[in-house]
């Protein structure tokens, strides 16, 4: 049941919290000109909950969250059955799907592990947000962990199947 995934937060800031319309600073540089963009976007916290409580943890790692309908309008290839199946089975490597939160967030959401930002913890602590329930919170952490730890081999063993003793 989708309502059990996301809910209005009732605890302190933790991993898996969805910051609503958060203000993310994005610095870029072109030749001698710096540009600081402050972008309003939903973002989900990836920093470990146990680290968030530490005073030394002054920044948070967050991932951009898109409304699925808006992403779908922009990228028609997301309609492909294989892509949708991967998302629904949580088998996509770089994207993580979140269901709607009735009464709070009507749209499906898409977390992109390829669009990460570091933001101020002090700013995030009191920001309006929803929280991802357990064990979906841990599933998000696991998906991000797998995204980061994966290793691509230059050559697999599939071609040597015939050599494998029967």
């Amino acid at each position: 049941m989708s309502s059990s995934w996301l809910k209005r937060t009732s605890s302190s800031l933790q991993q898996g919290d969805l910051l609503l319309n958060f203000e993310v600073p994005i610095p870029t540089r072109q030749t001698d000109q710096w540009n600081l963009r402050i972008v309003s976007t939903d973002a989900i916290v990836l920093t470990q909950s146990c680290d968030i409580g530490k005073a030394a943890q002054i920044d948070l790692l967050v991932a951009t969250v898109f409304k699925f309908s808006e992403a779908l309008a922009k990228w028609p290839q997301m309609k492909q059955p294989a892509y949708r199946t991967n998302l629904l089975r949580q088998q996509s490597i770089s994207d993580f799907l979140l269901p709607p939160c009735p009464g709070e967030r009507d749209d499906w959401s898409l977390v992109s592990f390829r669009q990460l930002h570091t933001v101020s913890k002090a700013l995030a602590i009191d920001w309006p947000r929803l929280e991802l329930s357990s064990p979906y919170r841990e599933a998000l952490a696991q998906a991000y962990g797998r995204f980061m730890m994966r290793v691509g081999l230059p050559e697999g063993l599939e071609r040597r199947e015939a050599e494998l003793p029967i």
């Binding site: 203000e23 540009n35 963009r37 972008v39 390829r114």
Partner: protein, 125 residues
């Protein structure tokens, strides 16, 4: 200046004006030196008394001119987005010798343009 953290404001330009003002040590209205003046005035008063031995105070101030730089927090001013006014770039980046622009985007459409859905899946690994 190639500062990467904090906003460094030198007091060098402020203190000479103080030295000329004498008894104005505790009442200066200089905006630029407001914090510096108060800090130094309190120090001078506590060390030398309200009547003041101006020579000693001057000496203390001269020493402060040579040694004092104050570092302010990186935190942006709290007034940042409380209204639609453009943030003051001077206030935000005072002391930085660089050129920059600041923009505010009210949605993540630009991020969505940079996003690209991937067909990579664990099933295909």
């Amino acid at each position: 200046m190639a500062a990467t953290t904090g906003h460094v404001i030198s007091t060098k330009l402020v203190i000479p004006a103080l030295l000329l003002s004498g008894t104005a040590l505790t009442t200066t209205q200089s905006r630029q030196g407001n914090y510096s003046d108060s800090h130094l005035a309190i120090t001078a008063s506590s060390m030398y008394g309200a009547a003041g031995e101006l020579t000693l105070i001057q000496e203390a101030l001269r020493k402060s001119v040579q040694e004092t730089q104050m570092r302010f927090s990186d935190a942006p001013p709290s007034i940042w987005f409380e209204d639609d006014a453009e943030p003051s770039l001077v206030d935000l980046f005072v002391g930085y010798d660089t050129s920059f622009t600041l923009s505010l985007e009210h949605d993540n459409s630009a991020l969505l343009n940079e996003f690209s859905p991937s067909s990579d899946s664990w099933g295909g690994m």
